[in-house]
């Protein structure tokens, strides 16, 4: 089920009513659990089996970590918990990639049947949540905390209910934001209707739906032309514009989804972490990754980069860690080598930047140097998106050839106009943020004159009048 489906709004309304009919935490968790399962199973009910199986594995292993008396047992169960989640992910997400890479011939019989199982929606997210749970319980218990929500011992039933709720909570189930167990568990409890922050909910939902339905879905109708053979009909300048449009589209699609998820979670009294903070204003690649898909960056930093040694083991080891973490992050996005290369592309950018971070280019505060840094980051990031749009290397090659040849086609004016028109809100959003956070503060003072409310109202009317044909969220495929 998509957040933009009509049926979703019916489910949301019923869930909301039932949720606030009771005040006890168990009732409310039960309502959300059932709603989440309906949400997930709506189009492919059989995928519930895998979700249930994965949740059960995380429940059992994290329960054992919680109950274990000795440090050795705790560690063993934690390793088992992480391993089973990674195995589930590897088996269901990367099976085709492994088969295509390592098998000489096309598998037949039972293996062919296994490979035919479609990628379960949200598997990358709920397995990462499972890993986060096991690791956070382990770390909490290792620190000697036995009183906190993750440290105290509970009955298996209570632990199961909370774990299943954490893993399946529908706003974040299929595409994040990735919320760590240590941040989510303390929030579990009875919620009151009067505590809903309606303005925050409305703002997140309006901006989220605007970014998704108006910006991303309409841009998708133009940027499909990057794909061969459509790209043959356009000049290099048009193709560059489409790529720029895709850069805006992918941001709007995912940031829009994340904001909707955050708004929905707030409706039920839960705070999910911010996932995007104006990533396209970044002047360095490291800054970009603190602004783009922040919940994944934080997850990779806490559970992969730091355990690998982070930047504490010398320069060269730091570079290797960066490349490794980003390549894994790339592979997390999709089961294809192009995603790993996309990760390496970013890993290399991070490593090179680290190498030169003490040079004038990175230290200078001159305005033109800041612009140059921004341009470099934006261009490198945008070029990287080609691997997202065209995960097939042959298509990337074809696009590059068409781009290089520049076929002297006339500029497709209406398409260029639409790319600029739909990108404009995102550009304005970034510019406004920059103006608000730096002098002169004229815009900031205008903003404080309660301009936000009417602007959100206009955005709401544009959502109704200008929503594009619904396109599945790009991150659903991950």
């Amino acid at each position: 089920m998509l957040f933009t489906d009509r049926i979703f709004f019916a489910l949301l309304a019923v869930t909301f009513l039932l949720y606030y009919m009771g005040r006890s935490a168990m009732w409310q968790i039960g309502v959300l659990l059932v709603a989440s399962l309906v949400f997930y199973a709506y189009t492919q009910p059989y995928l519930l089996i895998l979700l249930g199986f994965s949740a059960l594995l995380s429940t059992v292993t994290s329960y054992q970590v919680e109950q274990a008396d000795s440090a050795l047992d705790r560690r063993a169960w934690a390793i088992a918990g992480v391993a089973v989640n990674l195995l589930v992910l590897a088996f269901f997400k990367y099976d085709r990639l492994f088969a295509a890479t390592f098998l000489a011939s096309r598998p037949s019989g039972f293996f062919a049947t296994l490979l035919a199982i479609p990628l379960p929606v949200g598997i990358s997210f709920y397995t990462f949540h499972g890993i986060s749970l096991v690791v956070d319980v382990f770390r909490t218990r290792a620190s000697g905390d036995t009183k906190g929500p993750l440290g105290q011992r509970q009955s298996f039933l209570s632990h199961s209910a909370r774990t299943f709720f954490y893993l399946t909570f529908f706003p974040q189930l299929v595409a994040g934001p990735i919320v760590k167990a240590k941040d989510f568990y303390p929030q579990m409890g009875g919620k009151a209707f009067r505590d809903i922050h309606w303005y925050g909910v409305t703002k997140a939902l309006i901006i989220g739906f605007f970014l998704k339905s108006v910006v991303a879905d309409n841009l998708a109708q133009q940027t499909f032309a990057l794909e061969p053979p459509y790209c043959y009909a356009f000049s290099s300048l048009n193709l560059a514009l489409f790529l720029f449009g895709y850069s805006i589209q992918i941001f709007s699609d995912f940031a829009g989804y994340s904001l909707i998820a955050i708004g929905l979670a707030r409706l039920f009294g839960y705070a999910l972490p911010d996932n995007f903070r104006f990533p396209y204003i970044s002047q360095t690649f490291s800054e970009f990754w603190t602004r783009w898909h922040m919940s994944l960056s934080a997850w990779l930093r806490d559970y992969v980069y730091y355990p690998l040694g982070g930047n504490r083991k010398g320069r060269y080891r730091t570079y290797v860690n960066l490349l490794l973490v980003m390549a894994l992050g790339g592979l997390w996005h999709g089961a294809g080598w192009s995603y790993a290369i996309w990760g390496l592309w970013h890993g290399t950018a991070l490593a090179v930047e680290r190498m030169f971070r003490n040079t004038r280019f990175y230290i200078s505060q001159a305005l033109w140097v800041q612009w140059l840094r921004w341009l470099l980051v934006f261009l490198v990031v945008t070029l990287g998106w080609i691997l997202f749009r065209l995960p097939d290397f042959a298509q990337v090659r074809e696009l590059a050839i068409v781009f290089w040849q520049n076929r002297h086609m006339p500029l497709a004016l209406s398409k260029s106009y639409l790319i600029f028109l739909y990108s404009f809100p995102v550009i304005a959003y970034c510019v406004l943020y920059k103006l608000r956070s730096s002098p002169p503060r004229a815009v900031a003072s205008l903003w404080s004159m309660r301009a936000e409310g009417p602007l959100l109202g206009v955005m709401l009317s544009v959502i109704i009048l200008q929503a594009g044909n619904p396109v599945p969220f790009i991150y659903f495929q991950f």
Binding site: W198, Y417, G453, L455, G457, V458, L460, S461
Partner: protein, 283 residues
């Protein structure tokens, strides 16, 4: 303290009402949507909500190229680029439309009906909203109206994009490969049976039915996909019982990719349809 929600909803209501009122009152004339699906729907809705023409062309992207202005006042072209002619027939049959004549392009009848388009167009409240308020119709969205206004002001028209000759040759070769295998016979018969059922619904309301085949590159005309499709369609809808138009281009069809005609040839085919459709109407 909570910030008030009233400014949000008040300004939303004002902006919405202002735009809907403007589009309802000002007689905008829109020929194109901001993308192909919108342009498809724009043409369909133009006909369904104002059925003032006797003849309707149900087709695919091949027929879509035939400019409505060249077809004349009596013919509506509701062909959808990227969809089967059967989708048009479903829309006509299920919406209760009563044209005097429906002419069906056969080239893409091997494609099934796109029911998601049909359902989205005809379901409640979409149909009622689209019919009653122009602001909800495809093509009347703010971005498109603004774009069309800019286009009119700058006097720019949509230019035909014709790939270079070597590219056209490559695309024709691709099409040859694609059309070398015949369509799945079971699926084809099932799809044609569905087409027949929609045509029966239209005939029951007094609509006459005719067929035509759009000219395509000579090297593709008799490849298995076309030949099998033509054979099956002629069996199902024989010339003795249905009217068939004869469309031809004496010098052979000139296309941009093997199947889509260049503007000049599309113009010639449009003229032939305009000249021949009278015989199917019985006039």
């Amino acid at each position: 303290m909570q910030q008030p929600l009233l400014p949000i909803f008040l300004s939303a209501a004002l902006a919405f009402t202002a735009y809907v009122g403007l589009v309802q009152i000002v007689p905008f004339s829109v020929d194109y949507g901001q993308n192909q699906p919108d342009t498809n729907l724009l043409r369909v809705e133009d006909y369904l909500f104002k059925p003032d023409r006797d003849t309707v062309l149900a087709g695919s992207s091949l027929t879509f190229l035939l400019s409505p202005s060249r077809l004349g006042n009596g013919i509506a072209n509701i062909a959808m680029s990227g969809d089967s002619p059967a989708t048009d027939l479903a829309l006509l049959a299920l919406s209760g439309a009563t044209p005097k004549l429906v002419l069906v392009e056969i080239n893409q009848l091997w494609l099934s009906v796109n029911m998601s388009v049909v359902e989205s167009e005809l379901r409640f409240p979409n149909r009622q909203l689209h019919k009653g308020l122009r602001a909800f119709r495809a093509g009347y969205d703010p971005a498109n109206l603004f774009g069309r206004a800019l286009q009119a002001l700058t006097n720019k028209s949509n230019t035909e994009l014709v790939p270079p000759a070597d590219e056209v040759h490559r695309l024709v070769l691709d099409k040859q490969k694609e059309m070398a295998s015949p369509p799945d016979p079971k699926k084809l018969r099932r799809d044609l049976a569905q087409v027949a059922s929609y045509l029966q619904m239209l005939q029951a309301r007094g609509t006459k039915v005719g067929f035509y085949e759009m000219p395509i590159d000579n090297s593709l005309t008799n490849l298995p996909r076309e030949a099998v499709l033509r054979h099956e369609v002629l069996l199902k809808f024989p010339p003795g019982r249905f009217c068939w138009l004869k469309l031809s281009l004496p010098w052979g069809a000139r296309t941009i990719d093997g199947i889509h005609l260049i503007a000049e040839d599309a113009l010639s085919v449009a003229r032939q349809i305009r000249d021949q459709h009278g015989k199917c109407l019985g006039t």
